[in-house]
Every structure is written in structure tokens, then in C-alpha cells.
Symmetry: C3
Subunit: 460 residues, 3 copies
């Protein structure tokens, strides 16, 4: 028995339900991975260089990991976060600290993901702790040096059919171009223009300079051109991460006034809010025209911890979900484009209290709208079950889009998809066990959710 990565993990305990869940799982576990939204770096697949060490791979670059360690008193400095000059000795020390605190991850998806990676990718079948830390570090380090652990080899081993990266609007997509030229792995860019559409982003002005945009027309045209460039290099989707889901229909005149103020850096917060809302509507309009699937990931209060932000900048584990409204905030966009058969909007939430009361009813009505899976802090067994339990009865399953791994942690991608598949099997086994859905219906839906629905939803 593998104690850290049990073959029946996440299945229901009742013997009948477990049998059912395993039967379902057997029928989907080997389906290829469709990863339509995530944060892997295309340069990995372009250069195909070996990864260096366990600490860089699993601690200093994984915000789930270092935020928990930080919350328990380890400093970001001790943890080497945002430090690209760590010595081998420092890395070993960080790894030792991580191992000594691995118990903190009990009950979190991080421990499930990591245990599965250690076991299945590296053949390490004990629980990481202070004593075996060095052994883990060495074993991982050795394997990472081999040809079998180069990014492209792992991509194949992981059975990834297609993966989308997330890329800045002004990115030249050089790695994507190189990949396409000399490899058959499908690695596609996603158009993420937040830095060019959020006037409160610190890079906004730099972006607008690069896009040479001062008039609304030139600004919107520059964005259209960038979208075309992304499409040319394989993109099928855009992604937007505004603090709220607010959308707003602005006239060109109003938008020009807001843009002028933005360029002069004297937008009020309320005007910046309207600008972002208007740009979401513009982006939806462009999506209707050029066919890029639109994703909105709203509701994260970015950089909540001012002291850490001023010292370390973004992405240090201090982004916190807030209460989010969809019914009022998305109305402008949905009223304009929600009935369009060619438009597709995939919506995410960090506010679970809106699953049953706003999101499922909206998705169960508007033809253009689909619900993204349980996201970020909710990308976990309980989080996924809450998502299914709260959305399925109103939106069904065919108004959702299957799983996203949404991760930069490349090694964990199979584990994350596997976890999601297991939880879905758990959920459907319960439905069948209670005779709320037929076994055949469950099997078909599970297969669709794993493969067909994500491919079709993202037009892959």
C-alpha cells in the first residue's frame, strides 16, 4: 500500500460507491490532459533545458507553498522567494525547512499534489520530513539532470495533448514561434491584456507606449492587432483579471476622456473602475469578432500586504479573494453579448457564496456564458465538491468547461488533473448511488467533462 499516494484516494468510503467511483475513474484516468488555462513558461518547451533543483521547483516558485510557510513565521528571505542567486547550500537549507514544516500542509491540496509528484514522478513513496529531506533533495536533483526529465519529455510522459500559457498583450511570443517550428507539442499562447487595460497597473503606461496608443481608436486597433498576432500564433482565448467583474458600456467620447486622464495619470479610482469595465465590454466585442474565447478571473484583491509588496513586488502569496457581485456588474456585458451564439465567456469566481445564487442561474440562462471550474483557493477536493453541489442543479454540467490546472507548477499538472478527475468520480458516484442520475449518464458526462467539453469550450 502506498501510504502517501493511495490508489483509492479521494473516492467515497462506502464500498459500493467506491467501486462505482473506481469504475468511472478507470474510464477517464488515461484520457489526454487538456490544459486550456495555466501559467507554465513557454521558454521551458522552447529551450528544453533541464530543471535545476527541488527547492526552485517546489518551494521558492510555488505561492501555495511559501505562503503557508510564511504564515507560520518563516520569512520570505529565509525561504529564498524572489531570490535568483541562491547557493546550493542555501537551497538545501530551504528544502530542509520546507520538509520540517511539511506537516502544515496536512489537509491541503498542496500535500496531495506534492505527494503524488514525489511518488509518481520521482518514485519517492515516503512522506517528506526532516529526516528524509536530504534524500529527497538528492534523488530529485539527480533525476532532474536526466534526459527523461527535460520539459518536452515530461510533456509527453504527462500525456498533455495541449497546454495554454498566459501571455502579456505586448509579448512577442518568440518561444511559441520556436516551439511551433521545431516540435510537435501543442503549447498555445493566451492573450492577457491586464497591463494594457488596467490604468492602475504599474506597467500600464509602459504598455500603452509600446502600443503607441493615445487615441481610443489607435488604442483599440492596437489591441485588435495584438489579438490577431496571438491568433496567428495559436491563441484561442483571452484572459482578464480585474479586481471586480464590473462591466460598463461607455461611448467612444467617454472612453476617450477616460483614456486621456489615464495617460495623464489623473484618473480617480472610480474612473479607473469605469475604464476597466468599459474595456471588458470592448474585449467582449472583439471576441465576438475574432472568435477568441473570453475568460474573466475577477475578485482578487492583489498585493494586500503593503509591506511585502513594497519589498518584494507582486505574487508573494498576498492576493486575497473578496466578495464579488456578478448580477449587477456583468449586466452591461451580458446584455450586449450574452445572447450571441458566437460569443463565449468563461467566468470564474473566488467568492463561492455566489455559485448557487448568481453564477449557476446566469450560466443556466445566457447562451454565451460558461462557468470555469473551482479556482485557486477553491481548487481542492472540498472546493470542487462545493462547486459541483452548488452549480450542477441549476446550470447542469454542460454549462461548465471541465478542469483548469491554472498552474506554473509544471510537475504537478498530472496530479492536479488526476485530483479533479477523482473528485468528479466521487461526486458522480454519489449521484448514481442515490439514483439521481443513471450510471450510463454519469459515465458519459464524466468523459465529456474530462476531454470533450474543455476542448470545445476553449475551441482547441
Amino acid at each position: 500500500v502506498n501510504k502517501i499516494n493511495h490508489k483509492d484516494r479521494l473516492f467515497p468510503v462506502d464500498p459500493g460507491l467506491r467501486r462505482l467511483a473506481k469504475k468511472f475513474y478507470d474510464s477517464i484516468k488515461d484520457l489526454p490532459i487538456i490544459s486550456p488555462h495555466g501559467h507554465t513558461d513557454p521558454i521551458w518547451f522552447d529551450k528544453n533545458e533541464n530543471f535545476t533543483d527541488a527547492t526552485t521547483l517546489f518551494v521558492t516558485t510555488d505561492h501555495y507553498v511559501f505562503r503557508m510557510l510564511y504564515s507560520q513565521g518563516l520569512t520570505l528571505e529565509e525561504l529564498g522567494v524572489k531570490n535568483t542567486d541562491l547557493s546550493e547550500q542555501e537551497k538545501r537549507k530551504i528544502w530542509q525547512q520546507f520538509a520540517a514544516h511539511f506537516y502544515l500542509f496536512r489537509g491541503t491540496p498542496t500535500s496531495l499534489w506534492l505527494n503524488q509528484v514525489f511518488s509518481e514522478v520521482f518514485g519517492l513513496n515516503e512522506e517528506l520530513n526532516e529526516k528524509n529531506a536530504d534524500h529527497f533533495y538528492n534523488m530529485i536533483g539527480e533525476k532532474l539532470k536526466t534526459a527523461e526529465f527535460k520539459p518536452r519529455a515530461l510533456f509527453k510522459r504527462f500525456n498533455i495533448e495541449v497546454i495554454s500559457t498566459t501571455d502579456d498583450a505586448i509579448d512577442d511570443l518568440q518561444s511559441h514561434k520556436n516551439i511551433k517550428k521545431n516540435w510537435d507539442g501543442r503549447v498555445l499562447p493566451t492573450f492577457r491584456p491586464d497591463r494594457a487595460t488596467d490604468p492602475e497597473h504599474e506597467d500600464f503606461h509602459k504598455n500603452l507606449e509600446i502600443l503607441s496608443s493615445t487615441s481610443v481608436d489607435s488604442y483599440l486597433n492596437a489591441l485588435k492587432d495584438r489579438r490577431q498576432y496571438f491568433i496567428k500564433h495559436g491563441a484561442t482565448a483571452t484572459d482578464h483579471g480585474p479586481p471586480r467583474a464590473f462591466t460598463y458600456r461607455a461611448s467612444k467620447t467617454e472612453l476617450q476622456i477616460l483614456l486621456d486622464k489615464a495617460l495623464r495619470k489623473n484618473l480617480t479610482p472610480e474612473e479607473a473602475h469605469r475604464f476597466r469595465g468599459a474595456m471588458l465590454v470592448e474585449m467582449a466585442k472583439m471576441s465576438l469578432d475574432d472568435g477568441l474565447v473570453m475568460q474573466i478571473h475577477p475578485g482578487s484583491f492583489r498585493n494586500h500586504n503593503e509591506k511585502l509588496f513594497s519589498k518584494y513586488g507582486r505574487d508573494v502569496g498576498a492576493d486575497i479573494p473578496t466578495s464579488t457581485d456578478y448580477v449587477h456588474d456583468l449586466k452591461a456585458l451580458l446584455n450586449e453579448f450574452g445572447n450571441e451564439p458566437k460569443f463565449r465567456l468563461i467566468l470564474f469566481t473566488l467568492d463561492e457564496s455566489r455559485y448557487a445564487s448568481e453564477l449557476a442561474p446566469l450560466a443556466g440562462h445566457y447562451p454565451a456564458l460558461k462557468l470555469g471550474p473551482a479556482w485557486w483557493f477553491h481548487d481542492s477536493p472540498e472546493g470542487m465538491l462545493r462547486f459541483r453541489r452548488s452549480t450542477s442543479e441549476t446550470a447542469g454540467f454542460y454549462n461548465t468547461v471541465g478542469f483548469n490546472d491554472d498552474t506554473r507548477a509544471f510537475f504537478s499538472i498530472p496530479a492536479r488533473h488526476d485530483l479533479a478527475r477523482r473528485v468528479d468520480c466521487h461526486f458522480f458516484a454519489e449521484l448514481v448511488g442515490q439514483h439521481r442520475i443513471s450510471e450510463e449518464g454519469a459515465l458519459k458526462t464524466l468523459q465529456d467533462l474530462t476531454y470533450k467539453i474543455p476542448k470545445e469550450s476553449y475551441r482547441l
Copy 2:
């Protein structure tokens, strides 16, 4: 084994709990249906004419059904919604489409309700699909023509002891009068004055003209008179569907000012909001006097989809729940009447996040307040379990009012009550299995929730 309508559906899977749930279910399944809130048309029971066809009965008039089909790309035109001139051929085509998309309802209560109706009312024990669609349509059509399928016969067959309809304040209740004269089935009106109390409703001015109300006194007296008229014809309750639960104590002077502006059609949205809030307080005052149980169904954002509203009008599946406040919004009304032993307020919610934090604590304190069951989008197995799990520990069971079917879908009424009874048996079996309540206590409470509590709560 009936695969679409399994005899043990919705019961727990654990054998001991299932036995317990079945035992509970056996003791309540044959209790008469008390249906104190719903939307059946009294004219059915008055005229007692046969229903015409499967499409009209199950697709074009059921918003749960056509909203899901609409969300997946079928147009309301294709679905014949709001089209009363459909030819037989068109109806068959719509039915065929419905059958081809029946898989969309997997995991929704709609599939449970419909499968039970097909099986128990029409003897059709397969799952509806493209191939058997015509057979279903024919079989249903044939049965609908028979005497056994006339409304009054079904009323008896369905074991309905009493059913309440929902009627406009200015309704003449002619059907209710006729029914009382020549039939022994209890079909009671409910006073729903939204069109006469919401100055933003498109029929408000027409209503006020009919009530000949220009002064606050004449307006309130006209409403009192209408309530007396309803009471005379059997009503025991009122119903109110404001966008928010906001209540407001206005002086007569202020109310007159608001009414004047309303009549001149120049209320601001804030004033309309206050007018509605003040009218809820006035309605509560009248309830205290005349004994009509007051229901509030707040928190639906009506007609969210502007394009559909301008083309098809109301009730096309585009009403969406919003975040709702009760603690602040209901304070005026509860402070005035919440301690009155003779006043009864039954409160519903579309915002489940308020079950444990506002609604159960309010109902577990104010003598006048009772919680209505899981409503609309939450009228489902998971929704009902969330209701029980989140409200019972603070409000108990005796501050709730049993089940409402809240439906226009007459044929599904037994299935809806049956589903609710099964889910309650499931819930209580869990409580007993974990020794959180005695078996005798569970049995008594279940019986009360099914029959005695709804009758007493609605003064039926």
C-alpha cells in the same frame, strides 16, 4: 428495477441509513399534499378541461426547462415560448428538440421531477431521448385526452388536500368562486399585490386606476378591501416579491408625497425603493389586523436580459438571484410587528449565504417570523440539504413551514413534494444515524413538517 425513478432515490447509500430513511418515508409518503404556495391556474379546476399536449405541458410553459435549453443555444422562438399558435407539427418538433437535449438536465431536479411524472403519471419508464421522443409525445397526448387526466381527477389522484394559487390584487377570483360553488376540491387564492405596490412595475398605474387610489387613505383602504375580498373567497395568505427585503416606516405624509410622485411617474429609484419598503410595512400592519399570513419572496433581479425582455416580456427564465440583506432591511418591519403573537411572516431567500448568519438567527428569535423552504433555484436535493444543515441548528424545525412546490407545473406537484419528503428523510436518517436526534423525535418532526406544520403555518 425502475431505472429512471428508482424506489430508493435520494436516500442515503449506507445500508443502515437507507433502511432508516425508508422507514421514515413509509410513514409520510401517503400524507395528503398541502400546497400553500404555487402558481397553478384556478381556471383549470374551474373549467376542468383536458390539457392538450406534452410540449405545452412540459416545455413551453416550464421556465426551468426552456432556460436550460436556451442556455445551450436553442432560441426561444425555436422553443415556442410565449407562442400560443403552435401547430401540431411545430409542437412535435419542439418535443423532439427537448428529447434530444434531455441529457442537459442530468443532475438537475428537473430530470428527477420529469422522470417521476413520466413514470408515475404516464407509465413511461425509459429515459426520454431522441429515439423514443415520438412515442412519449403520443402516449402522453393520448392519456391527456382521457377523463382520468382532467384537472379535477388529477387533483384527487394527486392526493391534494388544499392548494393555493397566486393572484393579482385586482383579480375578480371568478374561477375560485366557481370552484367553491360546484366542487369540493380546496383551491384558495393568495393576495399578491406587487403590481399595485411596486411603482416601478409596468402595470402599477393601471392597477392604481382600477383601485381608484390617489390619496394614501383611499389607496390603503382599497388594498384593505381587496384583502377582505380575498379572505371572503378563501385566502389565508398574501405574497410579496420585492427586489430586496427592504422595509421602511414612513409617516402618512411621506407616503402621500411618494404616492403623488409615483402617480406622476417621477419617483427616483431611491424613492421607489422607499415606497416599496413602506408598503411592506403597511401590508404587515394589515396582516396583523386581518390575519392573512404574510409571505416575502425577495431578492430576484427580474428580467436581467434586456433583449429578451423587450422581445418577449417577463418570465422567460432571465430572473437571477442577488445578494440579499435581511438584518438591516427587515428591521423596520420586525421591530414593529415581529413580537406580535398574531402576526405571521414567512420569509424566503435566494441568497443561501444568509441561511446560517441572518435568517436562522432571526427566525430563532422573532415569534412572528418563520422560514420558508429552499426556494426556486434552491428547490433541489442539494439545495434542501443546505437549507436544513444551515438553518436547523439555530432555528430548529418548528420555525420553518414545511415544503412549498411553488409551481405552475401541475403534473409535477406530487413529484416535487415526494422529492422534498425523500430529502428530509435522508437528512433525518443522518441525524439519527449519528445519534444527534432520537428516532422517535425524528419521526414525529418529519410527520409534522409534512402535514401539520404547513397547515398551521399558513392557517389552512
Copy 3:
């Protein structure tokens, strides 16, 4: 079999899981009680006088009990609430009423707590009802007279290692002093300055007079002195119960302006709100200096029922939870002190919808922040399970602080801790059964949550 207090209550029904839960439970059930937050009266342990009667102990002083009875039509007068002059006959009558309505508590934690108290403390193993009410009353009354039922004897019998009371900032802590002098039971005060920091509290001016505070400096110094006084007499923590979690960084000048207005009683509600927010920041600053653990219990709308408040005053079961924000409201305090390794903030919520979306992410990031257990209306089996399911996957277990009984109901303290332990065993048995955590890891975590974590979190 004990039907009202079954030995396996609250454990999962599945035989394997139940075995596991019992095994876990056996390893923690006898650990001493750490009660770091509650409302017992220190005078009990100081004077060590016998309690008088069942009605005073279980009805008239327990807001969980009398609020439910009030909600079902019994008046506070009939229930003897806030009446210290009840005759024996009146007490018996109230007890009879309570017994006749005991069925109302089915499904609530109150029935679990009381049944366990009746069974384990008084040896009464039937369910309380109208018929045995007198017998219960007599038996309880007789036992209460004995030496074994004196407060200090019960404290030992209950296996309480340490208990914290909640005390007004201006309290002289006389009972605590006496206890320390002549008994070895650890009864510690907690500094609760709401009456001295909330300018809208009816006792605010009296408090400020006693603290002789008119300038901000003298005011803050007086509070610092009081904290030192509490520390001298054993306090390790403070507690704050603002209506919202709002915190605010005010300059000394602004704070002086607000204080001046407060003393002249002409603060606007918005200014009172800012004053409270600024005082939370000041209290955090003092905690960083003097080491008192800071607790915030926000989000209760106090005295919602105006009529009861004007007749009976505070604490008559009319405090209602409201929707609460943490991300924006706590930002000022967390930005200032959240990264301080020496500062500790324990945060509670009455708004469960924020567990997964705000609270767990905040606690899983800020080193100073820990989550208090499921509180008040959520201190129940389902409430605790929702807490664990919604917080553990992001914050883990080591960013929580174990159980608080938070009660004045001394006799129920062992039952409350026992219930919490059982529910945790239930939860961990599920995790282990689904192989989401190892059995050893579960056992260690459970033991820590029961004993080590609360002791360390509260610096006891």
C-alpha cells in the same frame, strides 16, 4: 444503550470510519480542557457557593434556550428572563414550560449539550419532557446542594486545566485576586474594553470618567495601565466585539478630534465607526508591546429587537449576525502589524460565507493571524464541519486555534468541548478514509488541536 447521550454520537455512520473516529476520540477525550475564551463568572470560583436550581442554571440565563422558546411564543416574562426574584413556584412553572417545549431543540446543539449534562453530570438518562419535568427539577436541585456540585469541585471534575473569563476594562478583578490567593484552579481574566472604546456603547462615558480620560494621551495611557493590571492578574489576551471588523489608522490629531466629539456626545455614526476602527489599531499596537493576544469577534448586530431592548436591555437573544468584510476592513491593522512575529490576532466570524474566500486566505498568509473556531450560531456539528471543510484546505490546521466554549453555561463546558472533539474526530476520520491525510498525521493534528494549539495560541 444511552438513548439521549449515545457513546458514538456525532461519529460517521460508515463502520470503518466510525472505528477510526472512535480510535481518534479515545486518544483525545481525556485531555484536559483548555478554555481560553468564555463567560463564566469568576465569583463562582471565588465564593464557591452552590448553584441554586435547574431553572436559573439552564433556562433563564441561557440565551440559546430562551431565544428559541421566545421564538415560539413564550414571553420573556413567562420565562423569567432578567428576573432575579423568581419564587420557587415560578421557577418550577418555567421548568415545566421548558420541558414541554424541549422538542423545539431537536437538531440543535443545545439538545446535545443539555442531554449530555443531564446524563453525565446529573445521571438523568431520559429525554426531558412534560412528564418527567418535576423529577428532573428535583433531582438536579438535590445534587446542586451537595459539596460535589460546588464550582471548585466541578472545575476539577470537569478536568479544566485553565479557564479565561471575559472582564470589563475597568473591572477590579477582585474575584481573580481572591482565587489566586486561596485556590490552585487557573481562572484568568481577559481584557474586554468595548465599553471604553465604543463611543456608541451606553456605558462609554461612565467608563471614560473612571479612566479619567479626556486627552488621547491620557486615554491611551489609562488603557495601557489597565492592560498591565490585567496582565499582573494573569490575563494573556484581550477581546473586542465591534459591529464590524473595520480598522483605521488615525493620526493622534484626528483621534483627539474624534475623542473630543465623543466626549461631547456628538459623533456621527461614521465618526463613531472610525473611532472604533482606530481603537482596534491602537489595541493591536499595545498588544505588540505587552504581548496580550488580541481577539476580535466582529459582525454581531446587537439588540436588533428595539422593543425588547427598551424593556429588558442587552443580551436577550436578539443579537443577529450580519454580512462581514475582512479583506478591506482589516487591511489597516494587518498592514501595520500582520507581519510582526510577536503580534497575535485571533479572528472570529459570524459570516460563514467568508471562510473560504477571505478568512482562510488571510490566515494562510499573515503570520500574526489565526482563525478562531466556529463561533456562536456556528458552534454546532454542521457549523464546525463547514468551518473545517472551508478553511483547512487553504489555512491548514495550524493557523487555527482549537476550540473555544465561549459560554457562561458552566455545566455545559465539558459537553461543548466533547462535542467539538467528536466533530473533529468525525472530520479527520473522513480525511483518512479518503486517504487525504495519513492516520498518524490525523492523530497528531487532533491531539495538537485539542491541547497544544490552544495553549500556545493563547500563550497560556
